[in-house]
């Protein structure tokens, strides 16, 4: 008696389990891919928020603060006061361990006495006594006194010279001996907490496992110095000197408000330009006084309407009459022009320049409105300065990029590294204030935070971009909040809606992910890419589907078995031609050829199917006749006839094309398209040819069949050109529908991608047609139908959903095609209907830009988002195609 051995049974279970796991692994693969794409792109839409980053108690009030990235060390810059004492202390990030380490040092800014040569650094920071009482600072230093500070650099007066110094926290790496000398347990503590405070009060930092250990230290460098400033302008005082630094450079505008005897505040503006000849290293600073048409705004107004550097060249200074003077710093005698604010928005209450030096956020109060409401607008200053500087009247108005209703702000703070502005607004209750972070490209409110304190003295954001600190009423405690907004400039609006970008004529969809400067306003609209993808796929389907479907019909319904077994494999082999080869040939061979034979390509494309049809009607080829009667083996002979006829027609049409190009378009359609000589009617005629043929053909004049057919064939082109001439009268075809001719245009990719799609659609369509059971064909033929009538009336309707799903799969492949899109199109992200224009498809965009995108940056995640949209497109398409094929197979079983 045979029985199965235990071992075999166990193997059976094991194998089944393994196979099931592997089988399901495919779903995991797809799910994993989807999860991965989603996990890489969803952070784009994470809501921005303010996070408390600690509260520090200040030994004495300070005008600014520099914070180290890793160690919680803050350096407080002195307020506008006589003494230049800096305080460095550890921020109590409400963890007890730091409280007891009362690390607190103070440094005295000193200038070495002697007139040291320009090159060496005259400034140094001398550590004064470690423990100093907060309220009575050490005796004032004899000559050095500090003025206002902004982002870590101070305006300093020593003797008669006015100078600007910048303070940074620097890292000095320990030498190997020093690291060896470190105690092991402090090294372990460093590994975990990344910073420690050693016994001798030095702060050690270790960024990551591999990087060496470093000691934090303060360093002062001189930006610029004007030696005899105070001797020239005796009554200027340090207290009301303001310095507006030119972004990216060390120089800028010095504004000093001096009280005149008739206690009017008279403000003088000096443009300081220092250019450093980095070969010789010597710095040449030059001070020029700025003459203004009318007096500049007062000191308080400078707070509300901050002066700004536009494109690092034009200096925009607020004037009393709520207009602005834009001074061209590169012009010898500082030529200025007047910029005005659009007055239909209300009267200007705030004006703050935004990061990027091309636009500014302005606030207008709406008159007679209770409760007081105001309107914020993002004004395009860059474009206004350019228009003004070369317009006759030297006057221009700032264009409005977007405007929105908003609460009146007490104070605006521009963000140094992102297009964000923090607006301090009256809070809900009387004693609370609300800080609102608003993103400037789209104008949406990114995040809000209400603060308990009633008065916010100095709301600053640090140079690293995220930390905001302000002093509460008693100016003794500084609250630090971190504004977490890694991808603030991305929102559904910025991705999919029309945005008016800086220095653009008007709102547009545009994709420009990176550029040279870091002040670049990134333009992440996906619409041009989606438009490019669909335009490429549509044109390639227009080329591929008729060819593939008709070829499938011929090879499954009419061709005899032997020829079919040769034709079908050759077409399937076509599917394995690598797309890189197709893309390359399209770019190197097809594009130039089309460029020199545009009209013949158009002519062949529009009239070839109709020519074939007319040939069929008239040319009485014996083998064609036999198609319906006896041997369909004649179909192979018909194929020979068609190849022969085809070659002649191709040659004839290309000759005709060249002839038309010479006569109607002045020898070159390309030149004609960009405005050259030529009659537009003919181009209209060319495009309307297929339409005219179809309409004339389907007019229901049945009886007079023959002469009518000849007439249509002969008259068709004439009628088309006639209509074209009529239409061209009052439409500008070239301008609105067509446009310039680009060598790598949509026709090239239509042919290249069409070539890749044809085999897929062909083989699926052919399988769908051949799976129609023969009994139906026999039934139709038995009723006396011809081969084509059987095909058209019985076989095609039955196989319709199979054909449709074949086209869907072809469409899916077209959307996903990458290499052809990269190589065969000019990759220009333009949105035009013009078939002669290039395009940029999503797949090509990812292939070109992802290798360079920084990991986890906004640009990187947006590329993943476009990959996700591509994935969802193909997913829905394929699922729909699969659903159709399943339904089609079920229905076929019923036949």
């Amino acid at each position: 008696m045979l029985n199965t051995r235990r071992r075999v049974l166990i193997i059976d279970q094991l194998a089944t389990a393994l196979i099931t796991v592997i089988g399901l692994s495919v779903i995991l693969a797809v799910a994993g891919m989807m999860v991965f794409l989603i996990s890489s792109s969803w952070p784009l839409f994470k809501t921005e928020k303010f996070v408390s980053a600690g509260r520090i108690e200040l030994p004495h009030s300070s005008s600014g603060m520099i914070v180290d990235e890793i160690a919680p060390l803050a350096v407080l810059l002195p307020k506008t006061s006589e003494t230049c004492v800096l305080r460095a202390s550890l921020i109590q990030q409400n963890n007890p361990e730091i409280q007891n380490k009362k690390a607190d040092f103070s440094y005295q800014l000193t200038r070495s006495a002697g007139q040291t040569p320009e090159s060496s650094n005259p400034w140094s920071l001398v550590a004064s006594a470690a423990k100093t009482d907060a309220n009575n600072p050490s005796e004032p230093n004899n000559e050095v006194s500090c003025g206002a500070s902004k982002h870590g650099n101070l305006i300093v007066r020593s003797g008669n010279s006015l100078a600007s110094v910048s303070i940074q926290i620097v890292r000095e790496f320990l030498s190997p001996e020093e690291t060896k000398a470190l105690a092991p347990e402090s090294r372990k503590e460093l590994a975990e907490k990344k910073w420690i405070l050693t016994t001798d009060n030095t702060v050690l930092v270790k960024a990551s496992a591999q990087s060496p250990i470093a000691k934090l230290d303060l360093q002062v460098t001189e930006d610029w110095a004007v030696s005899d400033y105070f001797s020239q302008y005796p009554n200027a005082s340090l207290a009301n000197v303001q310095f507006i630094q030119r972004p990216g450079k060390k120089d800028g505008l010095i504004v000093s408000h001096t009280a005149r005897p008739d206690n009017l505040i008279e403000s003088q503006l000096f443009l300081l330009s220092s250019n450093e000849n980095n070969l010789t290293g010597e710095k040449k600073t030059e001070l020029r006084e700025v003459k203004l048409p009318e007096p500049a705004a007062s000191l308080e107004e400078f707070e509300k309407f901050q002066p700004a550097w536009i494109e690092g060249r034009y200096l925009v200074v607020p004037l009393q009459s709520k207009t602005f003077a834009s001074i061209d710093s590169e012009d010898a005698n500082l030529k200025y022009s007047i910029l005005s604010v659009p007055n239909d928005l209300g009267n200007l209450t705030q004006w703050t320049p935004a990061f990027g030096g091309a636009a500014a956020i302005a606030e207008f109060s709406i008159p007679l409105n209770n409760p007081p409401a105001s309107r914020c607008a993002y004004l395009d200053v860059g474009r206004a300065t350019r228009i003004a500087s070369n317009s006759v009247g030297e006057k221009a108005e700032m264009g409005v990029l977007w405007q929105d209703k908003c609460k009146p702000a007490l104070k605006n703070i521009a963000h140094p590294h992102k297009r964000i502005v923090f607006r301090v607004v009256q809070g809900s209750s009387a004693d609370s204030l609300l800080v609102e972070a608003r993103e400037l490209t789209t104008g949406r409110i990114a995040a809000q935070m209400n603060t308990p304190t009633t008065s916010l003295d100095s709301l600053k954001s640090d140079t690293h971009g995220n930390l905001i600190s302000w002093l509460d009423v008693s100016q003794r405690f500084s609250e630090i909040r971190e504004f977490i907004a890694p991808h603030v400039e991305v929102s559904l609006k910025s991705l999919f809606e029309k945005i008016h970008y800086e220095s653009y004529e008007n709102a547009s969809y545009s994709w420009q992910s990176t550029s040279g400067t870091d002040e670049f306003q990134s333009k992440f609209s996906l619409i041009p890419l989606i438009w490019g993808t669909f335009k490429a796929t549509l044109y390639s389907l227009l080329f591929a589907v008729p060819l593939a479907i008709f070829a499938a019909v011929y090879s499954s319904e009419i061709l005899d078995r032997q020829t079919r077994n040769v034709v079908k494999p050759t077409l399937e082999m076509m599917a394995s031609v690598p797309s890189v080869v197709l893309g390359f040939l399209a770019a190197i061979v097809v594009a130039p050829w089309i460029e020199s034979h545009i009209v013949s390509v158009l002519l062949i494309g529009t009239s070839m199917p109709f020519l074939l049809y007319v040939f069929g009607v008239f040319l009485q080829v014996p083998s064609a006749r036999h198609l319906t009667t006896r041997g369909l083996y004649a179909s192979r002979r018909l194929l020979m006839w068609v190849i022969f006829g085809f070659a002649i027609m191709l040659w004839l049409l290309s000759r005709a094309g060249l002839l038309i190009e010479r006569t109607a378009f002045g020898g070159d359609l390309k030149a004609f398209l960009s405005g050259g000589p030529g009659t537009e009617g003919v181009l209209w005629g060319l495009l309307l040819l297929p339409l005219v043929f179809i309409t004339l053909w389907s007019l229901p004049i049945r009886r007079a069949r023959n002469w009518y057919r000849i007439a249509v064939f002969a008259l068709g082109p004439v009628i088309a050109v006639g209509i074209g001439a009529l239409i061209s009268g009052h439409t500008e075809l070239r301008a609105d529908l067509l446009g310039q001719y680009a060598q790598r245009n949509t026709l090239v990719i239509a042919i290249a991608m069409g070539f890749a799609i044809i085999p897929i659609i062909y083989s699926l369509a052919e399988d769908a047609l051949t799976s129609v059971p023969n009994s139906l064909r026999a039934g139709s033929l038995a009723c006396g139908a011809s081969v084509w009538q059987t095909t058209a009336r019985v076989v095609l309707p039955t196989a319709a959903s199979g054909l449709f799903s074949a086209i869907m799969v072809g469409l899916g492949r077209g959307i996903g095609e990458t290499m052809i899109a990269v190589m065969a199109t000019g990759n220009t992200a333009v949105m035009t209907t013009n078939p002669f224009d290039g395009l940029r498809s999503m797949a090509a965009n990812i292939a070109v830009e992802l290798p360079e995108a920084a990991q986890r940056s906004t640009h990187y995640r947006i590329l993943f988002l476009s990959a996700l949209t591509l994935f969802m497109f193909t997913f829905t398409l394929n699922s729909f195609a699969e659903f159709l094929r399943a339904r089609y197979r079920a229905r076929n079983k019923a036949l």
Partner: protein, 573 residues
């Protein structure tokens, strides 16, 4: 699909080809026939035939262009010499184009001539109006010299004897010198690539070991004395290895100096000369005085060189062996992954799973894997394999090499895995098709004999389905060989320093980046120094790639048609 009987013998009269009389008769009857021609739908059959013919012409055009340009790239062409207005043009005529003459800006056809001699102050390409081409003459004594650097040279070759007098060299002594030079360079290559490379590898490993010991010391993982003992023996090993290294490199130096001694001077038409060691020259021939058979001989030796040598001149010259090797290695690694997964998934869907929701979910997932754009695979590959899996592998095993990643960046393993994911649907679909072609009765017969499911599968079903699996695999390999987009980020580089498989210890280095034929075409076609110069090379590698892909495909279709023949048939009437 049906076809009417072929031999239609008709008792009333044999129907040979229609005699003239019949043709006349048919012509007369055109008018009357045309009437119901249209209702019969004959014209539509013409349109369908036209569509099929267009596709066939497109295919013929594609392969025609690739083959003609590809072969002409390796074919030793004639050299022409013309005295154009200002300069003497000596070079190989290439393609013809329509251009405007700069000074008279009249439109005329002109021929692009490749003049080589890049380091002789001659611009590489010159345009010659077509009319002037007819006066060109074909000098017999011009040499075409293929050099290791600076591209080919056209001109005269001279050897200076002891007292420096330059005399034109005759071909016999030249070929003797060449053979000697080739011999020496082969020896040099053998040493450098073999022993010296091994020594370098071991020195690298020792240095890494030293660094890891330091790191452990720093992290306090091992006590000091043990660390010093370890590092001292590493030091000694390092010393010994560098000693052999020094010995070997002196040997290489001697060989080089010997090689330097034997020189030849190249004399270009503009009088400039350049002397270089013979080993620098790869191949020499006189293009205009070659007999037809010699020309064929050179063509085939160039073809062999194209397939076996390393690329030179930033990929615009030399062979594509590393790219070919990389493609094949990647495809093999991919097959190791894709075959089991594909077959098992198909078996699961067809044999094991109940045809419920789960299976249709798997089927939709499989079809979608096929439909997903290949660039998304690249994105997934680099994001998931390289940065997540690879990075964790680096943390675990390759600590000391950090911060520069070993598995954390693109490599042949990750590229093959990405492509395996891309091509697994092809294998699944064709395996499932093969499994469903196995008639139910066979399975029931085997179960009848008491076989378990796996035994039935292993002994009955799979063997019969093998051809289907084979075609799926070959189609997958054909797709992988031609893919570029997913590889852009997961491991393909322009010029890979070393092959993924070599003689050092782990022999198969899965983390190395590699060269790929498809990327080679993309890179040469679009990112090379001058598209004009790299154009022949691109067409040559394109025809090689297309040849590889088509042969794979041909085998697949042969097996599939053989499989189909047994289960063909769509029901009687």
């Amino acid at each position: 699909m049906f076809s009417f009987g072929s031999k239609q013998s008709d008792s009333q009269g044999a129907s040979q080809a229609p005699q003239p009389a019949v043709l006349f008769k048919t012509a007369v009857r055109i008018r009357s026939r045309a009437a119901n021609n249209a209702t019969e739908g004959i014209p539509w059959i013409w349109v369908c035939a036209g569509a099929l013919v267009t596709i066939l012409l497109l295919i013929a055009g594609l392969f025609g262009v690739i083959l003609s340009q590809g072969l002409s790239a390796l074919w030793p062409h004639q050299v022409i010499k013309i005295q154009s207005e200002n300069a003497l043009v000596l070079g190989i005529p290439m393609r013809q184009e329509e251009g405007t003459d700069p000074n008279t800006n009249v439109k005329q056809m002109r021929r692009l001539v490749y003049q080589a001699n890049r380091d002789f102050g001659v611009n590489e390409f010159a345009f010659v109006p077509v009319e002037r081409l007819v006066e060109s003459e074909r000098p017999k004594d011009v040499w075409f010299v293929e050099r290791r650097e600076w591209g080919p040279f056209l001109g005269r070759i001279q050897t200076s004897d002891s007292n420096g007098v330059a005399t034109d060299v005759d071909s016999k002594t030249l070929s003797a010198m060449l053979v000697g030079g080739a011999e020496r360079s082969k020896q040099l290559l053998h040493i450098e690539k073999g022993a010296l490379a091994d020594l370098n590898a071991t020195m690298e490993d020792l240095r890494l070991e030293k660094k890891s010991i330091e790191r452990q010391l720093e992290a306090g993982a091992i006590p000091d004395d043990e660390a010093t003992a370890k590092s001292s023996n590493v030091e000694s090993q390092l010393a010994r290895v560098s000693k052999d290294h020094a010995a070997l490199s002196t040997q290489v130096q001697e060989l080089r100096s010997v090689d330097e001694a034997i020189k030849i001077t190249l004399l270009a038409d503009n009088g400039q000369t350049k002397t270089l060691p013979v080993s620098q020259i790869l191949r020499v021939f006189q293009p205009n005085s070659l007999s037809w058979i010699e020309r064929l001989g050179i063509f085939f030796s160039r073809l062999w060189g194209f397939v076996s040598e390393e690329p030179r001149e930033a990929n615009t010259e030399g062979g594509v062996f590393p790219a070919l090797f990389g493609t094949v290695a990647m495809t093999i690694i991919m097959t190791v992954f894709v075959l089991p997964v594909g077959v098992m998934t198909a078996v699961y869907m067809r044999e094991i799973a109940k045809q419920g929701v789960l299976v249709s979910l798997v089927r939709i997932a499989v079809n979608n894997l096929a439909g997903v754009p290949s660039i998304v695979y690249g994105v997934f590959g680099v994001g998931f394999f390289c940065y997540t899996v690879g990075a964790s592998i680096d943390q675990l095993f390759f600590q000391e090499k950090l911060p520069n990643p070993t598995f954390g960046t693109g490599g042949i393993l990750w590229a093959s895995l990405t492509l395996a994911l891309l091509t697994v649907p092809v294998v699944i679909v064709s395996t499932e098709e093969a499994l469903s072609a196995v008639p139910r009765s066979l399975r029931e017969a085997s179960y009848g004999c008491g076989a378990t499911r796996m035994q039935t599968l292993w002994n009955i079903v799979l063997p019969k389905a093998l051809p289907g699996v084979m075609t799926g695999l070959i189609l997958a390999m054909a797709r992988a060989v031609g893919e570029v987009a997913p590889l852009l980020m997961t491991g393909v580089v322009k010029l890979a320093p070393a092959l993924p498989v070599d003689s050092h210890f782990p022999f198969v280095h899965l983390e190395r980046s590699f060269m790929h034929l498809g990327f080679h075409i993309y890179d040469l076609g679009f990112q090379s120094r001058s598209t004009e110069l790299s154009r022949p090379m691109v067409f040559a590698s394109t025809s090689l790639l297309v040849a590889v892909v088509l042969s794979l495909n041909f085998i697949a279709i042969k097996i599939r048609s053989q499989l189909r023949k047994r289960f063909e048939g769509r029901g009687a009437f």
